[in-house]
Subunit: 335 residues, 2 copies
DNA sequence: AGACAAACTTTACCCGTGTAAAAATACATA
DNA sequence: TATGTATTTTTACACGGGTAAAGTTTGTCT
């Protein structure tokens, strides 16, 4: 940088100031530096910069399972917003493993990021490790809430998802049974089951929860296996099934297909299936999946904005904020 | 580190040596340091470390489109291997955009990584930018080859994919037409078309290439739209369709379903559909998709190993290596 | 026990940038 | 043109650890 400063005819501290914020120097100075930047291809050493800056311009993004296109889409949107705001996002996936989540937390702490956007594993998370992390690094949780951790949580309103699907299904046919994993990895699943029970009670309908076995993040296979078992045992109490999430539904639809059960809302169909999330593939299932869509845009936009607010206010919020976005019903062919 | 050194009773240079390689110090010294590490939670400042080390322990991973579960799976495997070897992987997705790919290349250069595993966008890539990058950073290309760039390329043998599916389909029924995007983003698509034409010629069969419109990375939607158009125009020359890749096939299957065309290998089916990649969701399509599987494990394992070899040999290989792994036919219900 | 190599300590300097303080200069306004 | 303020220059130190050189200690082998 010293060399470059000489070459540009500007002092090193001023050049340093320029790189921290091009607008902090006089217009003529800026032009002079940028002219020199055109001649030489100097760029500051990020390690030296980050060592000395009181705070880095890095933002950590942690998702529980990147092979799920839902998170991949989320990440795309979040990354873009971070870059546009002049931050450097670093992406990490826990790949469904607690050990990996913890080690990400540790290496992220070493990165001294300005802030972190964190979608935890959920049930599999090491609460103590997360609590320690959140007390040291400004963190906004998204997608999966863990009570009291992080300075804010941005997610979707599970009750809104379920009430819309239940109401729609009930209005257009038989009331739905609810298909879920017995031990779901993601806490949203529990909220959705509770919402289902509440909504059914309010509507004075009899709830039927179908809990299937399986663990991990291979939801499609779990949905398929569980679906096959239920269909073979003939244990379906209604002709309408509401799945906890789309990936489970994708597996369930494939089980129905294997068993020759026709899914859809036409008269000649045996069963209706609906679900939640608006997974990127749900439009391409056979039949296409009726579902409740996340407000992807709002969740990612608001998560990032909340993090920026948190960073601006020095890493602490007066009180923990929780913001939930409602779902939007997407009517397709499966129900 | 000075404080920690005093606390542990070991000199700072020795502690520094320990962190670079715990085995480089005497066993008793190591034990003493690790005992102190248990009492204090000191960890070296990664920025200071990386500023001074001649080479960082970072490895960059770039994929063209993270919302494609194929790449997400690949990344999982690659990350794990890097971590196990003591490196810190940094993941980037170009999200299908050339501008993003270029900016990733730039920020990666600033990270001075020990090496980079790079799956380029392909047709959309800025060849000049990539060439500059590769000449400055030890790079191994994977998935998509760009002639002459990087020190090595690890990928799948497209001819093996296509010859296996074509032979299987021909052996068990009508010879396939080939469905592809007219302007595919990924160079593998061109190789697959050429392989199809070659194989058909060798077998003395008449080839039929169905090129559909569409650009970008939303392959499912492209496959669906193109499929609908073809089916409506009745332009299908055979009752067997081989898709260039699974995502296209997923879209095509959904078009078939919409049009009431029964896909499968039973006598009452109208059409057979097969494809390539063994996409994580191809098992859950309706019907499940017959496809040729990537050797995910070998490709990721070998890519990482090749990169380590490249790093060990100082960033240059005697000659550029290209290694292709054959496919494995996965017979399911669609053909 | 003696000899020798391996490992460690001490000392000192380096990396490339942020940042503070004081002095000097540029610009804007009346 | 004088005055005040915004910028820049100069100077100096800090960050946290890599690494080299010289001297000292430890360990191993005969």
């Amino acid at each position: 940088m010293a060399e470059f400063a000489i070459a540009s005819g500007i002092s090193r501290p001023t050049v340093s100031k320029y790189f921290n914020d091009p607008n902090s120097v006089r217009q003529s100075t800026r032009a002079q530096i940028e002219e020199a930047l055109g001649r030489f291809d100097y760029q500051p050493n990020i390690y030296a910069v980050n060592q000395n800056r009181q705070m880095t311009k890095n933002i950590g993004i942690i998702v529980p399972y990147l092979a799920d296109p839902f998170f991949a889409e989320m990440v795309r949107s979040i990354e873009r917003r971070c870059i546009d705001a002049g931050f450097s996002p670093s992406l990490f996936s826990s790949h469904g493993e607690q050990a990996l989540e913890n080690s990400i937390l540790q290496s992220l702490r070493a990165m001294k990021p300005a802030g972190v956007l964190f979608a935890p594993l959920g049930r599999e998370s090491d609460k103590a490790a997360i609590e320690t992390f959140c007390s040291n690094v400004p963190t906004v949780l998204f997608d999966s809430n863990i009570e009291g951790m992080g300075e804010a949580f941005i997610g979707s309103d599970n009750h809104s998802f379920v009430s819309q699907t239940v109401d729609y299904l009930t209005r257009t046919g038989e009331a739905p049974s609810f298909l879920e994993m017995k031990h779901p990895a993601n806490p949203n699943a529990n909220k959705r089951r509770d919402a289902y029970l509440n909504v059914m009670k309010e509507r004075q309908l009899e709830p039927h929860v179908l809990s299937i076995e399986g663990s991990g993040w291979g939801f499609e296979e779990i949905g398929r296996q569980g679906g096959l078992k239920i269909l073979e045992e003939g244990g379906l109490p209604t002709n309408t099934v509401l799945c906890s999430n789309d990936r489970l539904a994708i597996g369930f639809l494939s089980a129905c297909f294997e068993k020759g059960i026709k899914v859809g809302r036409d008269d000649d169909c045996d069963m209706r299936v609906a679900s939640h999330d608006d997974h990127p593939f749900s439009r391409f299932t056979c039949p296409s999946l009726t579902t409740a869509a996340h407000d992807y845009t709002s969740v990612s936009e608001y998560s990032v904005e909340m993090l920026f607010r948190l960073i601006d206010s020095g890493g602490r919020l007066e009180k923990r904020e929780e913001i939930l976005f409602p779902a939007k019903l997407i009517m397709r062919e499966s129900a």
